[in-house]
């Protein structure tokens, strides 16, 4: 069920063959819930990989396995070629997790001072504070910070040890635009310095802005993997739904149509842009009715991708061919 859009050989990262983090045929269950199913996933040195998926897709589980906070039911998680629980590996790793409560009576600079002390060669407190834009709030108690400022402190704790590998679980949730840009800039700086970053997000835009490679995860499976533009091509565009007397083959001939599916009495048309296609539809079919146009958002894309993987196991060969398989 894994589809790779981009062959590993084609990646042009200098040390692309060095895999710094991997999940190998990992299954992870919580009771009866299958959080991850047969996930194979690799992060290469110097790469910025985004794990993109809706809530509950298994993103956090993947990160916790790679941090050694959990063990898989089968398969294995590796970091720097070894066990993620190995303290030596932890010293080269930084992590930002979603936390319910952080000790509120400690000041920003105290939290950073403590976490920096765990590492061998930490950044200076001033550097860390500047990186996350909290210089003026260094003496503020954590409990007195806004939600966005708290997120930035957690980000600071992840980077303060100057780790080689950074795990960021939903790093920009709750951040305003400015703070999000700031975190993005810092993530880019980490990459520029040769670090490796795995971030999870449910914003396609975020994955697009940052990542070299995106893995789309849905219901515990990686359903697509590729560069942001490859993923975007699959998720961009509009969905047009209507009842038309035109045959499917005719509809496919309309310029700009990427896919046509029958959906009960109606047809579902995917198009790069809606206007020209709709103009053409209305011109050719005077009885056309039930017209609906929606943008193919991420949620849609997940549905489309899962739909296709379920049908022919290969999302790359989606579009027209999927219809012929029926």
């Amino acid at each position: 069920m894994i589809a790779t859009l981009e062959q590993p050989q084609r990646t042009d990262y200098s040390n692309a063959d060095v895999i710094v983090a991997s999940l190998e045929a990992v299954n992870k269950n919580y009771g009866n819930v299958r959080a991850l199913r047969g996930v194979d996933f690799r992060v290469r040195a110097g790469e910025l990989v985004a794990l993109l998926g809706p809530n509950g897709a298994g993103k956090t589980t993947a990160v916790k396995l790679l941090l050694g906070l959990m063990q898989p039911n089968s398969g294995r998680a590796r970091v720097f070629g070894g066990d993620p629980t190995n303290p030596e590996n932890r010293r080269r790793t930084g992590a930002m997790l979603q936390v319910g409560r952080v000790p509120e009576t400690l000041r920003v600079c105290e939290h950073i001072d403590l976490f920096s002390s765990y590492y061998e060669k930490p950044m200076s407190a001033a550097e860390v504070l500047a990186a996350v834009g909290l210089e003026k709030l260094r003496d503020r108690k954590f409990g007195d910070l806004s939600g966005g400022q708290r997120q930035r402190v957690l980000f600071a704790l992840a980077i303060c040890g100057d780790p080689d590998l950074l795990f960021l679980d939903e790093p920009t949730v709750g951040l305003d635009v400015e703070a999000r840009r700031m975190v993005w800039d810092e993530i880019r700086k980490m990459i520029a310095r040769g670090k490796t970053v795995l971030l999870t997000t449910h914003y396609l835009q975020e994955a697009d802005a940052l990542a070299d490679r995106v893995a789309v995860i849905h219901q515990g499976e990686i359903i697509a993997e590729g560069t942001p533009s490859e993923i975007k091509a699959k998720t961009a565009g509009k969905r047009i739904r209507c009842v038309s007397s035109l045959g499917i083959d005719v509809l496919r001939q309309i310029p700009g149509v990427t896919e046509v599916k029958e959906d009960r009495e109606a047809v579902e048309i995917h198009a790069v842009e809606a206007e020209s296609v709709v103009r053409e539809l209305l011109a050719r079919d005077a009885h056309l009715c039930g017209l609906e146009i929606t943008s193919a958002g991420l949620e849609e894309a997940f549905l489309a991708l899962t739909h296709d993987t379920a049908r022919n196991g290969n999302p790359t060969s989606r579009s027209i061919r999927s219809e012929e398989m029926q």
Binding site: M70, R90, Q98
Partner: protein
């Protein structure tokens, strides 16, 4: 200590002793600051024993004596035990339950922090607060209640009560591993308040009903308070060795329970 042996099962990290010491010191320092600034902690843990002492030891009964020991002197031992117990139970259990339940412990565990430093910081912080309470009681007694004792005796009293923080820190770890973030404080109160009463920390032991006195013999605060009372000349002349043994056994049981909780947590995560 079982928590120590547990951490040894992980591969050890190469760190200079100096670096390790720095981490332990910082962990303890910030744990102490965290609790010091937590009004709920300082208010309940510090002010209750001191307020009780002022009221019952200095305002109401200061001229009386219990078996030859003045009330202000006697109550330093019993409210001292009460204070140590509260500082240690709340200091470990409440923080641990909250850190465990709300994700902070995971952030710490994902970092290269030596796991034992986390527990050591809580135990050391409890001991420091315990010492503060005992010293504060003594200062009140000395200045307002005419309490006088040889320096050596006070050192012994302080040392005994601070060492007596350990069984209750162990108990706090056990509670912290089984209670949720919100249920930990009420759970502690449910253990701490009845135990204090039955051990003769509020009402001197000889005035307790005989049934309660029988119960007291199995309660750790009774044994700690008897050790403390022995130093101020108001003990019941039981063997000190027995008191220490009971406290040690209690500590081991609590650490055993905490270890079960620790492993249960690991399995939940490692499931």
């Amino acid at each position: 200590m079982s928590t120590a042996t547990l951490t040894l099962t992980h591969p050890q990290i190469q760190r200079s002793p100096r670096h390790t010491a720095t981490i332990y010191l910082k962990e303890a320092k910030y744990e102490f600051l965290k609790n010091l600034r937590l009004r709920m902690y300082t208010a309940s843990v510090l002010s209750f024993p001191l307020m009780f002492y002022v009221l019952f030891g200095l305002v109401l009964n200061s001229k009386q004596a219990i078996g030859g020991t003045s009330v202000p002197m006697y109550l330093i031992a019993t409210y001292g035990t009460f204070g140590v117990m509260g500082a240690s139970l709340f200091g470990t259990a409440a923080g641990l339950a909250s850190d465990r339940g709300l994700g902070w412990l995971q952030v710490k565990r994902a970092s290269p922090m030596p796991p034992f430093a986390y527990f050591a910081a809580k135990v050391v912080t409890s001991m420091i607060f315990s010492a503060v309470i005992v010293v504060a009681l003594f200062v009140l007694g000395f200045t307002l209640g005419g309490v006088r004792m040889p320096v050596a005796d006070f050192a012994k009293l302080l040392g005994t009560l601070v060492a007596g923080s350990l069984p209750f820190s162990a108990m706090g770890l056990a509670v912290g591993y089984f209670a949720g973030p919100n249920s930990a404080p009420p759970t502690i109160n449910l253990i701490y308040l009845p135990m204090s009463f039955c051990s003769g920390l509020w009402v001197p032991f000889m005035f307790l009903p005989s049934v309660v006195r029988q119960i007291a013999l199995v309660l750790p605060p009774y044994h700690l308070s008897q050790l403390a009372l022995g130093i101020v000349g108001a003990g019941r002349h039981e063997s000190n060795a027995t008191h220490w043994e009971v406290l040690l056994a209690f500590t081991m049981i609590c650490l055993g329970v905490a270890r079960i909780g620790f492993q249960r947590d690991q399995e939940k995560m490692y499931g």
